[in-house]
């Protein structure tokens, strides 16, 4: 198979630009998604069923519908409703954050509920409030257990950010597709993008395993 390296060299600055945006979108998505996910997870665990209901449906919606549809809806309907124009980067960040929040919230819930009831009871009997017990006893332990599933979610998020190409956010996959459209060659752009995505996800997973080792108590 002939492989046109010269085309990749020609597109390298654009791939770099795209990669930077992909990293930016992913970081924004991870940060906002995690904070939002924590609140939604806590919301879903509320004892009053009625109060938990909106959180439950938030998760149902964002987890149960295709991300591609979500990103199109947000770009062409939600963002224009507020800004009166489209903004691909804003729409991509919103879609990634809202979507990952749904998954992250379930990871949080799983983490928190995996801690033995006795921990909460012991903390409360020491005189801590429910909030204090959560903050100082349950969450630090739960967080450690959440790292591997969170890592999964973040890696999925990085790859999902490629769907922002659909709304012409000039990220990595957008430039891959642009190159394909210009030269009618599939492998040069897509394999290049693949390698870059792999580098990004590998870096993230090594960061996470570093964090895991830092937090190891045994």
């Amino acid at each position: 198979m002939d492989f046109r390296w010269d085309l990749i060299v020609e597109y390298a600055p654009l791939f770099l630009k795209g990669t930077l945006l992909t990293i930016g979108l992913s970081i924004a998505g991870i940060l906002i998604g995690t904070v939002l996910g924590l609140f939604i997870g806590l919301g879903k665990m509320m004892r009053k069923k009625l109060w938990a209901l909106p959180f439950k449906w938030y998760i149902n919606f964002f987890r149960g519908t295709p991300f591609m549809v979500q990103i199109l809806l947000i770009h062409f309907a939600v963002v224009p409703a507020f800004l009166d124009t489209t903004n691909a980067i804003l729409a991509a960040i919103l879609a990634l954050s809202l979507n990952s929040a749904a998954y992250v919230s379930e990871i949080f819930r799983a983490g928190i509920q995996s801690i033995n009831r006795g921990q909460m009871e012991a903390a409360r009997s020491l005189g801590m409030t429910h909030g204090q017990a959560m903050k100082y006893v349950i969450l630090p332990q739960a967080f450690k257990r959440m790292i591997p599933p969170l890592g999964n979610e973040f890696i999925v998020l990085i790859k999902d950010s490629s769907l922002a190409a659909l709304i012409a956010a000039p990220e990595l996959m957008y430039w891959g597709r642009a190159m394909q459209g210009q030269y009618m060659r599939a492998w040069e752009p897509y394999l290049t993008a693949t390698v870059i995505y792999l580098v990004l996800t590998l870096s993230l997973s090594s960061l996470l395993s570093l964090l895991e080792r830092r937090l190891a108590t045994e």
Binding site: F76, T85, A165, R177, G181
Partner: protein, 267 residues
């Protein structure tokens, strides 16, 4: 637009090659009115596409009408983009119809009938837009479909991959972006744009022609070099252009009137 077909087709070529190699029907032998084998790449609505497995579209209706006029029965088969050319070159099929642009390069290897379709790029803008020609697009945000001649034309004018150009997966998304105010104009094929304007009067869009800037492309029926059918089919095409059949088919598929004069001028 057709010459910049999506690369997906290319990925299927190897498979199609194998299939076409074993699936060629015998069309040899002359005399009488034999059934013509028509090959197409049915992945380009509304020109040719598959409706529940049946190949339909403007091109298909047209080629059937032409063959009928010339007195031939036809059998239309979907074979894929590259196989269309391979089959016609190898004379295993009689006619290729797939929105094929007549180009000097292709004329070296194939024959074409007289042109039966005009394709050119046009600009879609909201009514009252300051954009009146391709020149006015300078500095404006433009949406196109990735991999089309519309994209090529805009990049030729304002530079490749410039910041103001947004490439979408298909024309519908590009037009939606214009509707939502994300861009100032869309550049796409005339049929796409004019049909959209006609079918969506509420959007208050208008189309702008700029024949000085955007090159015209003409589609022809693809024939093997030296095909004996050419004279007969040319006559049939002209008959349809003259007797209103062509206009009827065109309106059926595109809901707008064709420019027949310009097609005749090309002959």
């Amino acid at each position: 637009m057709k010459k910049l077909k999506m690369v997906t087709t290319v990925l299927l070529v190897s498979l199609s090659l194998i299939l076409s190699a074993c699936g060629t029907s015998k069309t040899g032998g002359d005399g009488g009115k034999k059934t013509l084998r028509v090959v197409t790449d049915a992945a380009y609505a509304p020109f040719e596409y598959q409706d529940k497995g049946e190949v339909v579209g403007f091109d298909i209706d047209f080629v059937k009408a032409v063959a009928k006029e010339a007195g031939y029965p036809v059998k239309v088969e979907h074979v894929g983009w590259d196989p269309v050319f391979i089959e016609i070159e190898g004379k295993t099929a009689d006619i290729g119809v797939s929105s094929i642009t007549i180009t000097p390069k292709r004329i070296q290897t194939y024959d074409f009938t007289v042109p039966y379709f005009l394709s050119k790029n046009e600009i879609l803008v909201p009514k009252g837009s300051p954009i009146k020609s391709a020149k006015d697009l300078e500095g404006k945000k433009i949406a196109v479909q990735n991999g089309t001649t519309g994209q090529e034309a805009v990049e030729k004018l304002f530079g490749e991959n410039n910041d103001k150009l947004k490439k979408f997966d298909n024309n519908n998304l590009a037009i939606l972006e214009l509707k939502k105010g994300g861009v100032d104009a869309v550049v796409a094929d005339n049929t796409v744009i004019e049909t959209y304007v006609k079918n969506n009067p509420k959007d208050d869009f208008v189309f702008i022609e700029d024949d000085g800037t955007f090159e015209k492309e003409f589609y022809g029926l693809l024939l093997p070099k030296g095909s004996k059918l050419k004279a007969e089919l040319d006559k049939a095409v002209n008959k349809l252009l003259d007797n209103g059949t062509y206009e009827k088919l065109y309106e059926k598929w595109f809901k707008i009137k064709p420019d027949i004069k310009i097609l005749k001028e090309q002959q």
